[in-house]
């Protein structure tokens, strides 16, 4: 019986680079890397040539030049004498404030609608379905425009709110009047809303580059202390329940602990609402909300709220019915079942898609371009770009900032996601 011949010697042949699975992965990666390098080199080379042909350089020194344009909504001090960099920061804060208000509003709306869609009430469930389907299937741009165009074109000028003596004598009403208990004025220049103010603020402390607002800090400190005290109360109540089986009545105590100190502090500092008043030509006092801001935020809330409603609904439906039945079998009441059994499990399903909705909302704030809202794209990617003619620098910087915001949001939300995730051992 002949022995099997020896295994062929492993001599390396060139064809093995393609046909041998041990080497093929290497070959492919090297080829991909070379092609990628060539592509990048080609793009860079083109860019350098094009810049040279246009007589431009690539640098960011224009950021420290006077901007020279006005921005209507500024959350940090800004005049048209400030630099382009300052304008960029103003734009960034404008983007972030829309994103923040939008995320909070859309979450509240989405949770309410999502729960109501599951309601046993036939009529309410149908209305919510219609809302969700209409808002999900029509472009966001339409919602922004359909809110912005009417309010900016129909709303009366501030002078329409005037009541002259002749009109009083004749008993006529002015052409327009403030709404919501005579506090909010919707005009063609924007919406004038009341602003909470303190008559006896604590002032602020200058610490070199940053100034600390003592009023705000004291409110935060008192609120934080109340929450700590409330948690201590809860812990004591739980300890008593563990020991004796009877849970002490705590609701009025916790209400007092949570509300009273802050309310006293606010009253001591003289909190009041500054209501916009009509002066000679315009309203003064209160806060002016630009129509662009209102339309953009409202449209984002309504549009994203419809998506979040679907996510919430799917999350609640994903918890199997057996969980509810098991909870009832243990004798838990419906609201305890919701808060202890269903919501914690539904949250795990809800949070990942919710994160991507927050990201979408933040990126969609760039649609403010449709209503000339001066966000990051409006300042850095709009007026600054057009004034300085530095398309390459502005666009790259803007993309980098948006990318950073997105990565930060997803990182923060991923940390939260990890904390509510099912602990597997």
């Amino acid at each position: 019986m002949a022995l099997a011949p020896d295994a062929p010697k492993d001599s390396f042949r060139l064809s093995m680079l393609i046909y041998d699975t041990r080497f093929r992965a290497m070959t492919i990666q090297v080829i991909v890397l070379i092609l990628f390098g060539l592509a990048v080199a080609w793009l860079l080379n083109n860019t350098v040539q094009n810049l040279a042909a246009k007589g431009k350089t690539f640098n960011y020194s224009f950021l420290w030049v006077r901007a020279g344009y006005d921005i209507e909504q500024t959350l940090i001090p800004y005049t048209n004498d400030s630099t382009h960099f300052r304008a960029l920061l103003v734009g960034l804060t404008n983007t972030l404030v829309v994103a923040l208000v939008g995320c909070i509003g859309a979450t509240i709306l989405g949770v309410i609608v999502g729960v109501l869609r599951l309601s046993k009430n036939w009529l309410v469930a149908r209305i919510m379905t219609v809302y969700v389907e209409i808002f999900r299937n029509i472009p966001l741009l339409l919602w922004i425009l359909i809110i912005y165009v009417p309010i900016s074109e129909i709303a009366p000028a501030p002078s329409a709110f005037r009541v002259t003596e002749e009109m009083q004598a004749a008993g006529q009403a002015p052409a327009a009047s403030k709404i919501l208990f005579d506090t909010v004025a919707v005009t063609n220049r924007g919406i004038y809303a009341p602003l909470p103010l303190f008559s006896r603020p604590l002032g602020s402390v200058d610490l070199g580059p940053v100034s600390l607002n003592l009023t705000f800090l004291s409110i935060v400190a008192v609120l934080g202390a109340s929450i700590l005290a409330y948690r201590a109360l809860r812990a004591r109540a739980r300890a008593v329940q563990e020991a004796t089986g009877v849970r002490p009545v705590t609701w009025w105590k916790s209400l007092m602990i949570l509300v009273l100190p802050t309310a006293l502090l606010l009253a001591a500092m003289g909190l009041h609402l500054e209501i916009p008043e009509l002066t000679r030509f315009n309203f003064t006092g209160g806060i002016l909300l630009q129509h662009a801001f209102t339309a953009l935020t409202l449209a984002l809330i309504l549009y994203t709220g419809a998506f979040i409603a679907e996510i919430v609904r799917a999350g609640i439906l994903a918890v199997s019915k057996g969980q509810t039945e098991a909870a009832y079998a243990l004798g838990l009441r419906p609201n305890r079942t919701m808060s202890l059994i269903i919501l914690p499990q539904a949250l795990r399903v809800i949070i990942p898609p919710l994160i991507s909705q927050y990201l979408n909302l933040t990126k969609n704030t760039s649609l403010g371009i449709a209503v000339s809202y001066l966000d990051l794209r409006g300042t850095l990617g709009g007026i600054t770009l057009n004034q300085t003619g530095r398309e390459l620098e502005c666009m790259l910087l803007m993309m980098l900032i948006y990318l950073t915001i997105s990565l930060i949001i997803s990182a923060v939300m991923n940390v939260y996601n990890r904390s509510v995730r099912l602990k597997e051992r």
């Binding site: 991909v32 029509i138 339409l142 794209r377 398309e391 390459l392």
Partner: protein, 484 residues
């Protein structure tokens, strides 16, 4: 009943009572109302609030709709007609749609050439038939016949010259015959749809698309010639290099030479005249059909074991997903001139399509990656143990299952993409929502109109997107193979 029990009780009923009808409150509409609308104080409150909201909405909208005006030359005339209806009456002025519908549909596309986009739109469904229902004769026949009837009806309504309608009828009849005789051959319509559609929409010489197809033919020829001798990868690589060389150098020259010898073609229509839903559908359909393969490749790259391929895929996906679409569109209109060789300037619609395709592909890649990750590990191992190589395993085992799981996500990405085509108005294209409406509202006759154009465009978008989401639900049900 036991013996003892029967003996101890004095009376046992031995006939059934006639069944009584359920109480009034427990049957019919009243029961339904009690259960669904008034089952508790909270539910009753919700019902009353909902009824109030409906009442307010109907009271505000109904008179406005009832007093609609369809025949007027300007907004002022509309308002006069509405004012005649009574003191303080409101009314919709749909006359603007009647006056400008062609701009909402076609932008500034020449009116006498409307038959071309309509035919391209009809052929789209013929080309889709083999993709949606491959080899299913009845479904393909139905779709082809419907598309043909639609095109011919629309052409008649548009008042197209009789010669063109007759030619289109013959073409559609031929396609119908093909669908009946050899439903599988219909896939050739799909293969050649892209160049035909390009020719119909943009017009110009016939030879440019023909020589572009010749590049693909060259690829196939080189592949077939070399494949038996050197194997699939090398032959494919060589074919690609040959095709790229053909497109890069002799392609344009040959096309120009041919068109000077035999100048046949259609009237050229520049991209600046595209607009309305023609533009939205052109961008949407092209980007959808190219982003799906690209998205699958990116998803496979992200799941790959090869470090460099994986890193590049992740980088691309995360970058695209991290920036708003608007910045990418501005890149298309402002920055591409920096990245391409000096002097290159190609069509803005094409540039936008490329960037929108990348954008959709990155989102699709994430959706498909979810589908790939949801497959049990055993599927991969089973494919390996059958001796399938990577591409066979992906094609036969992994992707059919992964794509089926990801259908809802894929369709909602498509819907998002279609809605996002409205953003092209920011780079100067005439999308139906903002671009055309701006033009209409700039007209002195229609200055100050706002609800009607937006409602009209919104309704069309709603119909298309809602239709797509319904189709995805149908597909999900049809493809469900698990037992329940």
């Amino acid at each position: 009943m036991s013996e003892t029990h029967a003996a101890t009780v004095s009376y046992v009923r031995d006939t059934m009572l006639p069944p009584a009808e359920a109480p009034v409150t427990e049957r019919g509409a009243i029961k339904w109302l009690r259960e669904n609308l008034f089952s508790g104080w909270l539910n009753t409150l919700l019902t009353l609030i909902a009824l109030y909201i409906i009442f307010v909405a109907v009271r505000a909208v109904m008179p406005w709709l009832m007093n609609s005006v369809w025949n007027a030359a300007s907004l002022g005339e509309c308002r006069q007609i509405v004012a005649a209806a009574g003191e303080g009456a409101t009314g919709a002025c749909w006359a603007v749609i009647r006056d400008r519908w062609h701009q909402y549909m076609f932008g500034f596309y020449p009116r006498e050439l409307y038959w071309r986009p309509v035919l391209a739109f009809g052929l789209l469904f013929v080309a889709l038939a083999p993709v949606l229902y491959y080899g299913n004769r009845r479904a393909e026949l139905t779709l082809t016949a419907t598309a043909g009837a639609f095109v011919i009806a629309v052409l008649f309504a548009l008042g197209t010259p009789f010669g063109i309608v007759a030619a289109v009828t013959v073409l559609m009849a031929a396609l119908l015959a093909l669908a009946w005789a050899a439903p599988k051959r219909l896939v050739w319509v799909t293969v050649f749809y892209a160049p035909v559609c390009y020719l119909l929409l943009w017009g110009g010489s016939v030879w440019a698309p023909v020589t572009a197809i010749a590049g693909f033919a060259l690829l196939a020829a080189v592949f077939v010639a070399l494949q038996p001798r050197v194997g699939v990868p090398v032959a494919l690589g060589a074919g690609l290099v040959a095709a790229v060389l053909w497109w890069a150098y002799p392609d344009a020259t040959v096309a120009r030479a041919l068109s000077s010898i035999l100048p046949i073609g259609l009237t050229a229509v520049p991209s600046t005249q595209f607009g309305g839903f023609l533009l939205a559908i052109t961008i949407g359909v092209t980007a959808i059909s190219f982003s799906l393969p690209l998205g699958i490749l990116l998803a496979l790259g992200r799941q790959s074991n090869m470090l460099i391929v994986k890193a590049l895929s992740v980088g691309f996906i995360e970058f695209i997903r991290g920036v708003p679409l608007i910045t990418l569109l501005f890149t298309a209109s402002l920055l591409l001139q920096y990245f391409l060789p000096p002097g290159t300037n190609f069509d803005i619609i094409l540039r936008v399509i490329i960037l929108v395709t990348f954008f959709a592909a990155a989102y699709l890649a994430e959706v498909i990656r979810g589908g790939l990750a949801a497959l049990p590990r055993g599927q991969y191992e089973a494919a390996d143990s059958l001796g399938l190589d990577y591409w066979q395993a992906q094609r036969l085992v992994i992707l059919p299952q992964a794509l089926k799981i990801s259908i809802p996500g894929i369709v909602s990405t498509f819907i998002g993409l279609f809605k996002d085509t409205t953003l092209v108005s920011f780079v100067g294209l005439m999308d139906p929502l903002r671009g055309v409406t701006q033009i209409v509202r700039a007209d002195i006759n229609w200055k100050g109109i706002y609800w009607e154009p937006y409602i009209f465009v919104g309704a069309i978008f709603f119909l298309m997107c809602y239709g797509m989401s319904r189709y995805s639900m149908y597909l999900e049900r049809k493809l469900r193979t698990d037992h329940r």
